[in-house]
Amino acid sequence: MKLVNAVFVASFMLLAGCKTKPTEAPPPPPTQTDNTGAVDNAAGSVDDTDAAGPSGELLSKRVIYFDFDRADIRADSQSVVAAHAQYLAKNPSQKVRLEGHADERGSREYNIGLGERRGQAVRRAILLQGVAEGQLSTVSYGEERPAVAGSDEQAYALNRRVEIVYLK
């Protein structure tokens, strides 16, 4: 009986698949390596050894904080983002990874999305200053890598952030 069901479901899936005409093919997926097990991130991990990066009053600040449920860069962080953007524009071989984070409230995978939104906000701000796309990568850890433990507003505020990580 169970087998019969499984066969039925399997054939249903096949039928469902057949119904999708080639002309209705979905938009292309986000990368070009879709039939190869897609290892472009793995290649990325070769050159992502963390480095000390530049120093200086603004450049030594590597964490951008965000308000609750927001992904726009606050006024008090604009100068820090601008300083990193200028440094990266002047050093086109330097790469950074933008690590987006969320506080612990809500659903984990949705929070991955929120962290990514923050990382992308910083990425766009840096790109605006003439930095090459290839110098920037993003990763979102959502709520999985909090800066501090705790379930209060203070902890949440410190955990909603983007970390700028300089790579070797």
Partner: protein, 436 residues
């Protein structure tokens, strides 16, 4: 309510824990509100097969399983006037006088082959008939699993729905303080016993999902500092990376036929959408295309549709998209400002979601036909609901005193069983399918 029985049940549980002492060492029953009319049942201690049974109290395991469902109330052993082990020895009138509906008696015996057999007999005290006689034979190491299977059979005979006690759960365990933390992917029995580490990493592991046959887990690992989706055999521990594309690789869930994964990809531009990945051909099919966050896909049990979280209306809500080809997603949740991480019940009739309820994150059930919503959990930060394969219970994660804990809740919200970890915290439980 019989408070004494509750206390005894808890005491029995703690005693059971002393015997096996695995990583999950604190397990307690909490009846969160009055159980409506649990069926009174007396599970008489079974005759033992010493020493082959390893000291396992089979009747106690069965009693705890049945009570954890909220549908049964076991009689305290101290109230039992006799301790029969066969149907012939059962004084039906006496058990009836002590207000039982059912009596279960049984025997554990060692076979010449070295295997053990559990023979049990279920007696309906109201009519004096032996209504079932579930048996199990297997290796002594699996006696506990055999006990769960007897409990499954008793549950099915009396309730009319297959029991889900002989099933397994997977979850993530986290030790240490950020940023130095250790993440483990663990598989354990549904009652928290026999935890086994499938994978251990010093970077986050998240979003485990069972294959429909219960042999594989899909999950997200950040072990290369960026996200990738892996599938791993829980027996051989062999694993393969199935998606490591630029940007986010997240939220994998298996299709009911086991051939595909639904997952979330973002590309380097950071727009999260849902895709289907054919595990054989590696072919990707895009399911959603929206500038908002689309994630947390979950298949309808017949494989005809996918439910997912989308914040396209401005806040996260659950949408459904049919897989017939070229279908437009339709919004499913309308109660409240936050509904995420949908999971469909095994009968396809209900949706478990994470909802914002009076300022707290709780698990709610939504009836898909009527739209009626009932809040199931009572914590402040509950998450990750997952249905038992019989649909009678939901396992979820919550926070208590700053630590992640797991609990099972009956779908009427009345009975909950909490599973606390020794150290660190546990999160993201997923209930596995029926075992063969």
């Amino acid at each position: 309510m019989n408070v004494r029985m509750k206390k005894l049940a808890t005491a029995l549980l703690l005693a059971a824990l002393g015997i096996s002492g695995p990583a999950l060492a604190q397990l307690q029953v909490t009846v969160t509100s009055g159980v409506t009319d649990p069926i009174p049942i007396a599970i008489v201690p079974f005759s033992r097969a010493v020493p082959a049974d390893g000291g396992l109290d089979v009747a106690e395991v069965i009693q705890r399983d049945l009570e954890s469902s909220g549908r049964f109330k076991g009689m305290a052993r101290t109230d039992m006037l006799t301790k029969p082990t066969t149907f012939a020895e059962v004084d039906v009138a006496g058990w009836k006088q002590q207000r039982n509906d059912y009596v279960v008696v049984g025997r554990v015996t060692a076979l010449a082959s070295g295997d053990l057999t559990i023979e049990s007999e279920v007696v309906n005290v109201l009519n004096g008939l032996r209504v079932a006689g579930p048996r199990w034979t297997g290796k002594p190491a699996f006696l506990r699993n055999g006990s769960h299977r007897i409990a499954d059979a008793i549950y099915e005979k009396i309730i009319g729905v297959r029991g889900a006690f002989a099933t397994r759960i997977a979850y993530i365990s986290v030790d240490g303080q950020p940023p130095k933390q250790r993440f483990q992917l663990i598989v354990a029995d549904a009652d928290g016993f026999n935890p086994q580490v499938i994978l251990e990493k010093d970077r986050p592991l998240m979003s485990p999902s069972w294959s429909p046959d219960g042999t594989m887990l899909a999950y997200v690992s950040f072990e290369t500092k960026v996200s990738a989706v892996y599938v791993q055999n829980i027996y051989t521990k062999q694993r393969s990376r199935v998606s490591a594309r630029a940007g986010i690789n997240g939220a994998p869930t298996w299709s009911p036929d086991g051939k595909k994964l639904a997952l979330t990809l973002s590309g380097s531009n950071g727009n999260l959408d849902i895709y289907l990945l054919d595990l054989t051909s590696q072919q990707l099919t895009r399911l959603t295309d929206d500038p908002g966050i689309d994630t947390e896909a979950s298949f309808a049990p017949d494989g005809s549709a996918v439910y997912f979280t989308s914040d396209r209306p401005g806040s996260p809500q659950v949408y459904r998209v049919g897989l017939g080809g070229n279908e437009r997603p339709k919004r499913v949740t309308f109660t409240g400002s936050y509904n995420a991480r949908p999971r469909v019940s095994p009968d396809g009739k209900q949706l478990a979601v994470l909802t914002l309820d009076e300022g707290a994150y709780r698990v709610a059930l939504q009836d898909l036909a009527s739209g009626t919503v009932s809040v199931l959990s009572k914590g402040r930060q509950d998450e990750s609901p997952s249905f038992a394969p019989n649909g009678a219970m939901v396992i979820l994660a919550g926070r208590e005193r700053g630590r992640g804990v797991l609990q099972t809740v009956s779908i009427d919200g009345q009975t909950s069983l909490r599973l606390n970890a020794d150290a660190g915290e546990v999160r993201e439980p997923v209930w596995g399918p029926y075992q063969k």
